[in-house]
């Protein structure tokens, strides 16, 4: 198989090294255009995510692919090519296909089962199609990879369960409340962590939010931003890789929520007693060294409530006195509890790895079988068998109409006729195998196989 992959990922190099070879966006498109223009590879695809940069290519050339890729990337980045190439991996043939299938199935991700990689593979395929570097083999490979990813996601629990604290809090809310749209969230603290959790809640459609903070002005700013659906300042990591969240485990969950406008208002910490009567879900994340929610101040207001109350305390040290969790209809979860939920989910994902690997094995086997069946030699043999079967059938049907002497000549006559008829196609197929690109050969063989129903013949043999 003329398929190969060269890449670098989080297993082989830290981010400071990986980012020097990133081919995200425009550099990736330039790379593919150069490949197409210079006919370096017959087919090529660039997969660039926050955790990996990989080039999949089809080539019969003896050219040093790694040297070409690195020198081209160096030109794009206006830097010298690296001297240490040990951080790159190189797979050929079925191993390259297996690698891609594992990537698409999120088995090679930093957090196994993460949700974003399948979309990233799809985007890479689209980019290659637009750059006209995706040919017959790459099309087949990517369809198989996307199918593998979907199968892993639907047939296993590899991607199930939250793998980040923020998402675990949202999932907990889903365990308690049917629909968050008519619920009120009380957010205590206006820091980054609280805001991340708040934004995760916006995606499922929380209806109302009350933001409480020691500094009213900061609470008002956050409330206005949440109400207007505006973004906040993003940190350096996110500027470099927009898809990468502050906590890599967040990538393992649903994609970052679309920003929606909600009803939000601000209060200071003194108003918490009244707000908690109204709230259904409380998220605490202040930097206070002492508990902010205490039995003394809140037992009375909480007892006046009739509905369920979920309090998620993601502050360290804790913001909520543990005794509040003993009150009826109150569920209190802190960082330890959420970490246990996340650890359990990650463990359950790991338990699904063998099933996911079995799916990958099956898809690789299918792909290799397909590839081998599209080789010229196999197709020539089947073509000869098909013609021989037709020949025999005609002899059986019409042989009786010939006189004895003529009947004896039917076999050598028909053999010779078939041989002459097949001579052209066989020479054509052999020439393809010797001279044409892999993609052209596969495409032509595929056409001939469909024309003469050779797949059916092969299945009958099996």
């Amino acid at each position: 198989m003329d398929l190969s992959v060269i890449g670098i990922n989080h297993h082989t190099a830290p981010v400071e090294v990986r980012e020097r070879f990133a081919l995200a966006g425009e550099p990736g498109e330039q790379f593919l255009r150069a490949v197409h223009r210079e006919s370096v590879f017959d087919e090529a695809l660039v997969l660039d995510t926050c955790n990996r940069t990989e080039v999949y290519f089809v080539s019969r050339s003896d050219r040093d692919a790694l040297e070409y890729i690195l020198s081209h990337v160096a030109r794009l980045k206006d830097a010298a090519p690296p001297t240490d190439t040990s951080v790159f991996y190189h797979h050929d043939g079925p191993a390259a296909a297996r690698h891609l299938f594992r990537v698409a199935g999120a088995l090679d991700s930093q957090i196994v089962g993460e949700h974003e990689v399948l979309g990233q593979v799809r985007a890479a395929y689209r980019q290659a199609v637009q750059a006209r570097t995706a040919g017959f083999l790459m099309n087949k490979l990517l369809h198989a990879a996307l199918r593998t990813g979907k199968r892993v996601r639907s047939e296993t629990d590899l991607g199930r369960g939250s793998a980040s604290v923020a998402q675990a809090a949202v999932d907990l809310a889903g365990q308690v409340f049917t629909d968050l749209a008519d619920k009120t969230v009380l957010l205590i603290g206006a820091g980054q962590t609280a805001e991340t959790a708040a934004r995760r809640l916006i995606a499922p459609g929380v209806g109302r939010m009350i933001v409480a903070n020691r500094t009213l002005e900061r609470a008002e700013r956050l409330a206005e931003a949440l109400a207007a659906g505006q973004g906040d300042d993003i940190d350096e990591d996110q500027a470099r890789c927009p898809a990468m969240p502050a906590d890599p485990r967040d990538q393992a969950d649903a994609p970052a929520p679309a920003r929606q406008a909600i009803r939000a208002r601000a209060i200071d910490l003194g108003g918490i007693g009244e707000a908690i009567v109204e709230a259904d879900l409380v998220i605490c994340s202040t930097g206070s060294p002492e508990p902010v929610l205490t039995m003394q101040s809140l037992a009375g207001p909480i007892r006046r409530r009739s509905g369920l109350l979920l309090i998620v305390d993601i502050a360290v040290p804790r913001d909520v006195e543990a005794e509040l969790g003993d009150l009826p209809n109150v569920f209190l979860y802190n960082m330890n509890d959420l970490d246990r939920v996340v650890a359990r989910n990650i463990e359950r994902r790991r338990e699904e790895i063998p099933r996911a690997e079995a799916i990958v094995d099956h898809e690789v086997e299918q792909f290799v079988t397909w590839y081998d069946s599209r080789q010229a030699a196999a197709t020539i043999a089947l073509l000869q068998r098909r013609f021989d079967m037709l020949r025999q059938a005609q002899i059986t049907r019409y042989g009786g109409k010939f006189a004895d002497g003529a009947r004896d000549q039917l076999d050598p006559f028909t053999k010779g006729l078939c041989s002459k008829m097949l001579h052209g196609p066989i020479v054509f197929l052999k020439a393809l195998a010797a001279e044409a690109s892999t993609g052209d050969q596969l495409a032509a063989v595929d056409t001939i196989r469909r024309m003469f129903d050779l797949d059916e013949l092969e299945e009958d043999d099996a």
Binding site: D157, R160, G161, D171, L172, G174, Q175, V176, F177, T178, S306, L308, G325, P328, N329, F331, Y333, D337, R340, V341, R344
Partner: protein, 265 residues
């Protein structure tokens, strides 16, 4: 007709068992948790056809014997569950429902095979059918109440084991429990009123005082349970935990009394 009815006696429990297995797969494997199950409609239609055929065979509504009542409870449970699933699009509690439905119908089939029924009730169906629906609703209320209490305990104690994220949301379970109690209250009220009217006209099969007394006691307990749960939540702002406990206790008492009455009859 008799052959078909004899066959249906065993086909029906098998159909419900198949549904229970299907919903069991949903619960354990967490697949198709929010998709409707067309098999429920098939089971309901099949069961309704059998009941109609039995009624035609008997010349009246087949709702007089314990076997027939259990069969009616089974199909009405399936109907109520189908309505709930259509509304909530949540299949995760289905395994518990259809295990009970299977047990009801299997028991009914065993009793029919033992020669205890069928019989028909004449105008008694006006009392018996609402009563069946009321007890079915009570059964649902107790089931959802049990799941609510289980889920509530797990969440309170931070248990993230087998049931975590497999059950419907707590709020939904509580609402379903209360809704089922409301349905039970309505139907039990109708049943009590029609029963009282029949008794006063002497059409309840007079002379069977012990049986009527037992029914009055059971019906009263059921009605009080439903009323307490519905009104307690609405008027006295009872917590869902309290409503759930009342639903479970009331159902257990009713079943215990019913079983005792059957055994001693």
């Amino acid at each position: 007709m008799d052959t078909l009815l004899a066959l249906a006696k065993w086909v029906l429990p098998l159909v419900y068992l198949a549904l229970a297995i299907d919903y069991g797969a949903t619960f354990i494997l967490r697949v198709r948790t929010h998709a409707r199950n067309p098999g429920v409609v098939v089971a309901i239609v099949l069961h309704a056809a059998v009941l109609i055929a039995r009624g035609v065979r008997l010349g009246g509504a087949p709702v007089d014997t314990v076997a027939e009542v259990l069969s009616l409870v089974a199909v009405s449970s399936a109907v109520v569950y189908w309505a709930i699933e259509s509304f909530t699009r949540d299949r995760r509690a289905g395994v518990f429902v259809f295990l009970l439905v299977f047990l009801c119908q299997y028991t009914a089939s065993l009793l029919l095979a033992a020669g205890r029924g069928p019989g028909h009730a004449g105008p008694g169906w006006l009392h018996i059918v609402p009563a069946c629906l009321a007890y079915t609703a009570m059964g649902f209320a107790a089931l959802y109440a049990g799941l609510y209490l289980l889920g509530q305990r797990n969440l309170k104690q931070h248990r993230v084991g087998l049931l975590f994220d497999r059950l419907p949301a707590l709020e939904r379970l509580g609402a379903m429990c209360w809704g089922a109690l409301l349905v039970g209250l309505v139907f039990m009220t109708v049943s009590i009123v029609t029963g009282a009217m029949m008794y006063s006209r002497g059409t309840a099969g007079g002379g069977i005082e012990a049986k009527v007394t037992a029914k009055i006691i059971i019906g009263s307990i059921a009605w009080l349970t439903c009323a307490a749960g519905v009104l307690g939540r609405r008027l006295a702002k009872w917590s869902l935990v309290r409503v759930a406990v009342v639903a479970v206790i009331g159902f257990v008492v009713v079943v215990a009394y019913l079983v005792t009455s059957i055994v001693m009859s």
